[in-house]
């Protein structure tokens, strides 16, 4: 067992690739030369524009003078009154330049229109119809910039009876039937934690923007992309709609986690386990006699007798660290999991070897660790520099205007 010690914390911070400051690398990345105007606020739209920035696009984030509300969202690195202290904002807006413009002010709306004339992609998250009311809708902007890809990211989309309805992460999870089957049988439906629905919505907007860019590259026209969080969640709900139509009603189910010494694991013995593995696991757990026990000898039997199985495995697991269980049972080719906390992620040897985490230096808060590229294409870089301070690039981009 000693061989797993190598996975134990702490790994020195220096294992992460530290990036102190990076200039715009306009000659690198698959989106180099692509200009993105990011008018979006909150989570979903900014996450989309972050991905475009990561692939090398030049992204200008436009905020109202008071800032994107995400600047006031927890968790904070420090003082909650400081508009540069939100971890959420810092994460969602990396690799963008930032300007402030109030679109309700005519002169500033004109500046925005000029920026849009020069843009390839525009990302926005306003209530449907708002930009049109200012003369800044897709029809207005595409008149003089027909190649523009205008990505609208909203709770319910640009069309349909709920288009004017307001949303949130939990509302999207509810309406897409994602959350109805999450949680325990005797409790209320439970949402996936964090801002997961909004992140998935942002990812959908990213993929759709890349699709629209592909079409512009190959067919020569821009268009309006409509992303609805409810649509996205209905796509993300991959069992309920089909299973119910086929006569099987999905319900909330008990958990299959068992307690380890320092957290939780799922032993994963109910599927994907080769014949012959079970006796080895019984040996490992110090209960060789169970190798012949009819309740557990096949995957199907183990599924049927899951509660009894969890008790057997649970009494073994309770004395062992979760990551040791994970590595040990994975080495026997079972599909085992352990519940990692954010602390565990930062010392994961797998993540360290792949340099998934990158550190950016913040002048006030020091080293800030960011999850890295969402995918890799050969040696292509992932552009990463800190989110803009409010209005940081007003002078550079808006000049004296």
């Amino acid at each position: 067992m000693g061989k797993w010690n190598v996975y134990r914390r702490p790994l020195p911070r220096t294992r992460f690739q530290v990036i102190w400051h990076i200039e715009m690398q306009s000659n690198e990345g698959v989106l180099s030369g692509i200009k993105v105007l990011d008018l979006s606020q909150g989570v979903a739209g900014p996450f989309c524009a972050k991905f475009l920035a990561g692939l090398g696009a030049e992204v200008i984030k436009v905020e109202p003078a008071g800032g994107d509300p995400a600047r006031r969202a927890r968790p904070f690195f420090g003082d909650s009154d400081n508009l540069e202290s939100s971890a959420l904002f810092a994460y969602l807006n990396t690799s963008k330049k930032g300007v402030t413009l109030d679109l309700d002010v005519p002169g500033q709306a004109r500046s925005l229109k000029e920026l849009a004339q020069d843009s390839d992609i525009l990302v926005e998250s306003f209530a449907p119809g708002y930009l049109d009311s200012l003369g800044l809708g897709y029809d207005d902007l595409s008149e003089t910039n027909p190649g523009l890809i205008h990505v609208s990211v909203t709770p319910f989309g640009q069309a349909g009876p709920y288009r004017g309805y307001k949303g949130s992460d939990i509302v999207a999870q509810a309406m897409g039937a994602l959350m109805y089957t999450i949680g325990l049988p005797d409790r209320e439906p439970l949402k996936v934690g964090g801002e997961s629905a909004l992140y998935a919505t942002g990812i959908s907007a990213f993929s759709a923007a890349m699709l629209a860019l592909h079409i512009r590259d190959t067919q020569g026209f821009g268009q309006h992309v409509d992303i609805s969080a409810m649509d996205v969640m209905t796509v993300a709900q991959i069992h309920s709609s089909i299973n119910e139509q086929f006569g099987h009603i999905p319900v909330r189910r008990p958990t299959n986690l068992v307690r380890a010494k320092d957290g939780w694991v799922s032993p994963g013995l109910e599927s994907g386990v080769q014949q012959g593995t079970w006796p080895k696991i019984c040996e490992l757990m110090g209960v060789p006699e169970l190798a012949e026990d009819d309740r557990f000898t096949t995957q199907e039997a183990r599924r049927t007798n899951q509660q009894a199985l969890l008790e057997v495995v649970g009494s073994w697991a309770a004395t062992m660290p979760k990551e040791e269980i994970y590595h040990t049972l994975q080495s026997l080719r079972t599909i085992t999991g352990y519940v990692a906390t954010v602390e565990d992620l930062l010392v994961s040897k797998q993540y360290a070897e792949r340099e998934f985490f990158r550190t950016l230096a913040d002048p006030v808060y020091g080293d800030v660790v960011h999850p890295g590229p969402p995918f890799r294409m050969d040696d292509d870089g992932w552009q990463l520099f800190p989110a803009p301070r409010l209005g940081e690039h007003n002078e550079e981009i808006l000049g004296g205007a």
Binding site: V171, M175, H239, Q245, P250, L257
Partner: protein, 427 residues
């Protein structure tokens, strides 16, 4: 949906060879099909896509068959196969045999994209890893979706959607307030990765236009899933705070939760984050006096008195249908949504009006409503759903049409078990 001529579809002319199985990969290639690409789903008679289930399932097989009936070709009828393998041609080849490998490399030469999500080492072990396929077709884009990525000490570990939620940290922030981590029954990382994979491939195709060369796209499902809790990673790295479960509550929005409605297991989700939304909630409930209640005067005090608020809101929602509660709240500007079941989403008037569902008549499974795309493009419509194909249904069309094999040559391959439309009994 009005049919668009094939040649006008966005991805017309692109050809995808799809070795992927379960959910993440099949979702990505399903979107390719919707946008007009030709997708060839390649399986083996000895090892079908897990979505299809067993060749001869037992009576207790946990998979879902339409009406509970397995039928003569159960592997063409399972819910997951019917739902995820739409818009694809079905071909079988035994990649363990030299002849199967040869034909596979033949297909590689005429495809733009290869997608697979086996355990990380499987393709290399078959001698069909990136080096081999890129030698056969230097312009090929190879999307390798794996549990942990193509490299690293855990590269060959297996995973399910539910274990990815654990190892990526998502489960640590999903759960009721008692701290017990929970996973989604919807294997959330799979569709999310499927959607992202589509964008990654669009990026790789653009790169190919720039460089003239294909590439390997290395996508780790675990990494993508960790990106769904990025703010908590940043926060920990600065403050040492470890994000935990918080039920349906939100760091900045109070009240937020699901509230019981009329009927069994019916709920409405509410999140009133701003003062305006709180006042709207008071109006919707007809409880104007609460607007001046000091317990609820700002987000902080509403957070502190969340339990009392939950009781007040529940006592109102309990007498309402979940849709009715949603409409009353939204009319007052409060973000709210009925907690829908799958059977309710397929008749919801809003996404129906958006044209989200396709009505499909599957030859084996009958008529059902199909999930489509998470985007609507104003000038580039998707194609109508093509029902999921039976195993090996397009063997002759693809091996004949793309590789130039004669009918008798393909007949011989069937006799040798290299291809065919009936799975090996062991599968």
């Amino acid at each position: 949906m009005a049919a668009t001529p094939k040649k006008d579809l966005a991805l017309h002319g692109l050809r995808v060879l799809d070795l992927s199985q379960v959910a993440a990969g099949p979702y990505a290639t399903m979107f390719f099909g919707y946008m007009g690409a030709e997708v060839i789903k390649l399986e083996s008679r000895f090892r079908m896509d897990i979505n299809r289930g067993r060749a001869r399932p037992g009576l207790n097989d946990p998979r879902v068959y339409p009406g509970g009936v397995q039928g003569e070709r159960p592997y063409d009828r399972t819910a997951h196969h019917v739902h995820r393998n739409i818009n694809k041609l079905s071909v079988t080849l035994n990649l363990a045999e030299p002849k199967g490998k040869e034909l596979f490399l033949g297909l590689i030469k005429v495809c733009d994209v290869l997608v697979e999500n086996y355990r990380s080492s499987v393709m290399d072990r078959l001698g069909l890893g990136y080096d081999s396929v890129s030698r056969a077709n230097p312009q090929l884009i190879y999307l390798k979706i794996s549990s942990q990525g193509a490299t690293g000490p855990e590269a060959n570990y297996g995973s399910l959607g539910s274990t990815l939620e654990q190892t990526a940290g998502l489960a640590s922030i999903t759960g009721y307030e008692d701290g017990l981590p929970l996973m989604t029954n919807e294997v959330y990382p799979d569709p999310v990765v499927g959607i992202l994979s589509f964008g990654a491939l669009m990026a790789a195709l653009r790169r190919r236009r720039q460089t003239g060369r294909g590439c390997l796209v290395d996508l780790s499902q675990r990494e993508v899933t960790s990106m769904l809790l990025g703010e908590s990673v940043l926060d920990f790295s600065v403050t040492g705070r470890i994000a935990a479960t918080m039920g349906n509550k939100h760091r900045d929005i109070a009240p937020q939760g699901v509230y019981s409605c009329l009927g069994e297991d019916m709920w409405v989700a509410v999140s009133a984050g701003t003062d305006d939304e709180w006042l709207g909630l008071c109006r919707a409930m007809g409880r104007h006096e609460l607007a001046g209640d000091p317990r609820f005067k700002d987000t902080g005090s509403r957070q502190a008195n969340h339990d009392a608020l939950d009781e007040i809101i529940s006592s109102w929602t309990r007498g309402l249908d979940h849709y009715q509660a949603m409409h009353l709240l939204q009319a007052e500007g409060v973000p709210a949504g009925a907690v829908l079941k799958g059977s309710e989403t397929i008749i919801d008037p809003h996404i129906e009006a958006r044209g989200f569902w396709d009505v499909v008549d599957h030859p084996e499974a009958g008529i059902y409503k199909q999930t489509t795309t998470p985007w609507i493009l104003s000038k580039s419509p998707r194609q109508p759903t093509v029902p999921a194909a039976g195993l090996g249904e397009h063997n002759y069309q693809v091996l004949g049409g793309l590789l130039g094999l004669s009918i008798s040559e393909i007949d011989t391959l069937v006799e040798q078990g290299i291809t065919g439309d009936v799975p090996d009994p062991s599968a």
